[in-house]
Symmetry: C2
Subunit: 319 residues, 2 copies
């Protein structure tokens, strides 16, 4: 099991015309503040509001015909659920999503809106177990959220587009949850811009990636308390960890308070709504967690699916 | 005094590399909801957060050398102030801005941040008069907010880019305050896509453009009460009115309540922070004010400079 640049390029062909080629955005304010030339890849402007559609579509499109007919199942309370639901819809593949029964109604509605069947689970149930059980009973293919080569290759197309559009980079900052986006982007970046340092960014409370990177084995942080809900995954996967060890140069962590500050900065100054997890990489840069002056820096804003009322409340508390 | 497509094309050359070429964004949700193919031009992602830099830079860049040396003055509480301040900064031209003494601190700070001198005025003072007085006393060139061919030609580059990037349009919807953006975009659209219907969109409370368009003479609505602060201009200008009569096909109005609803839709579904005035054109489309099904529709989102705390408060009131 491996992912190389050829896989990313093939994934890019597969998703063309279906997944948005999001733009590259720059900000004179950010450049002045960091002394760097910064290129943002705003995947919050992606279909369904996050990069996840890249990997999900790439995986579903490659299923054998009979598996497509039977359908797929995914477990997720977040963007992966919507990505699998939308990809299923676009490819005519029935999708079943195992979601927490208390998931925000906006997410339930969006997932159902894409025509997926939702199977709710209670907080004390093992969702992965439940999904595998449904998979066996109904003959559905499980689409994992990150630890699969087709998912990783799909996510890597974000960095491929960024470097194609912005030109070579000295640094690439990528949010890290399960490591699908980070490992895929690292594969693409190291091929297209070999001298580029690739940095994963995690919430301080959920720094399993950093710990794993340092110790050389997969470390677990269970139920980390952080507003970066997309980075609450307890650990990297086997594939993503192997790729990260090979291609990623370092990890950085940021606090929830720093994340909020950056989230409002992106809102107010760049007019972009970015969810806390999607803000991780920008936060590392804007909070001065690394030396960027004089460098060409890529920053992946990975998604924008945040509850607007929650975000509005947070903003008002800060006055 | 006229503006033709050659002027827009020349302006486009002049602003290249300084002003962002903002992307064109699409939304499957919007397409499904309207039955149209909709292409958004998000000028909220423009430098200083609005299209105004296009016209201001184009005007300042064409000043004679001695006028550049003496400097410029503008009267504005909004985006034009920041556009003139930033353009002055970029071109090394001293800028003086006449602003209300109670303008939001964020705007005062931004304008000062670009190195402009701010001259505050009281609510009962005539700001235009004050600006002209300062102009004479100090030998500064007044940069009007919309009624000047260089301003109009600059604003038209937004539609030029949109049509170049999205392809021909059947309909183009543009917010209208003083008519600089609308008339410039109409000039560009009628040249690049002659069959394109160009529609101006105004707040219902400030429908001077619509009235003028219907009556054939410049009508005034003084101090309209609307959250679309960029469209509180009492009337079109002579130049913008003449161009609008020649190139614009119709006007549509929307209420503040409709504007807010669309503003939150753009926030929540497209992850874009757009100010109320910037939302006008999208609002006309999304509120079903015109038949768009089967058409290729361009929508200019003209700016994103809204007070985030205010917007957050508005959002929380709607739960």
């Amino acid at each position: 099991m491996d992912v190389n640049f050829g896989d990313v390029a093939a994934a890019h062909e597969r998703i063309r015309g279906v997944v948005h080629r999001t733009p590259v955005l720059t900000s004179a304010t950010v450049n002045a503040r960091t002394g760097a030339r910064v290129f943002f890849k705003p995947e919050n402007l992606q279909r369904m509001g996050a990069f996840k559609i890249r990997g999900a579509y790439n995986a579903l499109a490659q299923l054998p015909a009979d598996a497509k007919k039977r359908g797929v199942v995914a477990f997720s309370s977040g963007n992966h659920a919507q990505a699998v639901a939308l990809s299923g819809n676009l490819l005519g593949i029935p999708a079943t999503i195992v979601m927490p029964e208390d998931a925000p109604r906006v997410k339930l509605d969006a997932t159902r809106g894409y025509g997926a069947e939702i199977i709710p689970y209670k907080e004390n149930q093992d969702r992965e177990q439940l999904a595998r059980q449904i998979s066996v009973e109904r003959g559905l293919t499980v689409i994992p959220p990150f630890d699969h080569p087709h998912i990783v290759a799909g996510q890597g197309t974000a960095a491929k587009e960024l470097i194609e559009d912005a030109g070579p980079l000295d640094l690439l900052l990528v949010p890290c949850g399960g490591g699908g986006l980070l490992s895929g982007c690292a594969v693409a970046a190291k091929h297209l811009a070999p001298g580029c340092r690739v940095i994963g960014v995690e919430p301080a409370a959920g720094d399993d990636g950093l710990r794993s990177f340092r110790s050389g084995r997969i470390e677990t942080v269970s139920r980390p308390r952080t507003i970066a809900d997309g980075a609450r995954t307890p650990s990297l996967g086997r594939l993503t960890f192997a790729l990260i060890r090979r291609h990623v140069n370092d990890f950085i962590t940021v606090t929830d308070e720093e994340l909020l500050e950056t989230m409002f900065f992106l809102w107010e100054r760049m007019k972009l709504l970015v969810e806390p997890t999607g803000t991780l990489a920008a936060c590392a840069l804007l909070q001065g967690k690394l030396e960027a002056a004089g460098r060409r820096v890529g920053v992946v804003l990975s998604g924008g699916n945040v509850d607007l009322a929650w975000a509005a409340e947070q903003r008002l508390r800060r006055r």
